[in-house]
Amino acid sequence: MNVIEIDDLHFTYPDGTRALRGVSLSLPEGRSLGLIGPNGAGKSTLLLHLNGILSGTGAVRFEGTPIERCDAAHLRAAVGLVFEDPDDQLFMPTVLDDVAFGPLNLGLPAEQARERALEALAAVDAEHLRARPPHHLSAGQKRRVALATVLAMQPRVLVVDEPLAALDPEGREAIMHLLGSLEMTKIVASHDLDMILALCDEVALLDDGKIYAQGDTRETLSDEKLLRAHGLRVPLTLIRRAMGNRQ
């Protein structure tokens, strides 16, 4: 069954910018999709349609139900969105408050919300940070806690926007390992094609608000002509493999 289905989605911002021009894609349950494309392609705009924050023309369905007919609270619990900048996502006085924010909004009693928050923090190896103010954390710690804020809502689909931005190599490895270990339907938007290659079963290439390709990750990311036409490059991992094969 397709968890997410998008048919001919169009979206224009109030200033007239046409961000999405007829996007169509689908994502089966349990699969992970990499959303790739150059800057300004419309990736973040597309992600905001998945939990009903933005609403364009066309159809967006979650488990077969049109988004506009889904209960907003249920939808936002089911489709967890991790934003590109963790400082936008961490706004409560302590880490525990931030991670419990979502479960409390879902109506869970305080004790249950606290337990969920601690479980989510343990899943991202950040339980020891629970009493810290979020703005005192390092970039890598913020990324892990931002992920925990969404995991605490126990989503069916995890949507992550640029998870490795501004991280050092150790931080990148930790986040990649974490994302790889989460067994759930995932959508990852990123410029980091090596990460997409490692984590995602299939990719969709978005440019100028349109989908230009959707298919197997390795196959799509090996198409140098396609990638170059849309401001991207073949991941280093594939280049090294190709060089290794030639030797």
Binding site: L48, N51, I53, A73, R76, A77, G80, L81, F83, D85, D87, D88, Q89, L90, F91, M92, P93, T94, L96, D97, A100, F101, G102, L104, N105, L106, A110, E111, A113, R114, P133, P134, H135, H136, T149, V150, M153
Partner: protein, 258 residues
């Protein structure tokens, strides 16, 4: 953190730090009321209260220089007020106080009023400094909420506390970028550049506010800030607060020495 404006010494281990924030806020409020309520005719009680504050400051283990810098922001105002005292008219012979060393005759009432106002200002500022220095910002906000401040107010103050640090770091990066591109010459040019930077920072702040709002809505926010329940106030902390208030009452009601 490049510009951590809060909680620099809030994690020290002292009797003041260990006290519950709710008790500290109430005791600070009672102390401030007690200071402000001292009649001008009994200015000497301010000395007793000052003695208590010095003991609290020592118990807090906050650096004296840190406390001093914050209290001494009053200095310019105290100096200006001191200059006005000799200008106050002497109302009667009984009101006159001769100061032969300065060649002045001061009004006793004016001098008493100056001592009262300046002493009270210093003590109130010292009380606030000790409270803020020995308590984490998040605990102060929770204490305020527990004591009846509306949830919206404490939430807004919490956002301000969080994002003041984020924005100050952003401003610092902008200043570094400006300085990396050579020295800006001239006052007018400097003001123009500062104005542009401020404008850019305001726009970025507004945009960040919009993104934060989206992040809140994405996690189910419906207009009311949720809160994890907090622990009940231990009896020991209640007794500590009561003891402090009794001590204040004793100092306040201490009979005159003469």
């Amino acid at each position: 953190m490049l510009a951590d404006l809060h909680d620099r010494y809030a994690d020290l281990n002292s009797p003041l730090h260990r006290a519950d924030a709710r008790v500290k806020v109430v005791c600070a409020a009672v102390l401030i009321v007690a200071v402000l309520a001292v009649p001008i005719a009994e200015n000497w009680r301010l000395a007793l209260l000052a003695g208590l504050m010095v003991v609290l400051a020592a118990a807090s283990r906050l650096p004296a220089s840190w406390i001093g810098k914050r209290v001494l922001i009053l200095l310019p105002f105290l100096i200006i007020a001191a200059v006005l005292v000799p200008l106050a008219p002497v109302l009667s012979p009984a009101d006159a106080l001769a100061v032969p060393q300065l060649g002045l005759t001061l009004s006793r009432m004016a001098l008493s009023a100056y001592v009262a106002i300046s002493g009270k200002c210093l003590l109130v500022l010292l009380a606030a400094t000790l409270l803020v220095g020995a308590t984490r910002t998040v605990d102060l906000l929770r204490a305020g909420q527990a004591l009846g401040l509306p949830r919206t107010i404490t939430a807004l103050m919490g956002f301000a506390a969080t994002y003041l640090t984020v924005l100050s770091e952003e401003a610092a990066r902008m200043l570094t970028a400006r300085d990396s591109r050579g020295k800006v010459r001239g006052l007018v040019r400097n003001l123009a550049v500062a104005g542009s930077m401020l404008r850019a920072l305001m726009v970025r702040t507004f945009e960040r506010g919009e993104r934060v709002a989206l992040a809140m809505v994405s996690r189910g926010y419906k207009g009311r800030m949720p809160d994890l329940e907090r622990a009940a106030l231990p009896l020991r902390q209640v007794l500590l607060g009561i003891t402090f208030v009794i001590l204040l009452a004793l100092l306040y009601g201490f009979p005159p020495l003469s």
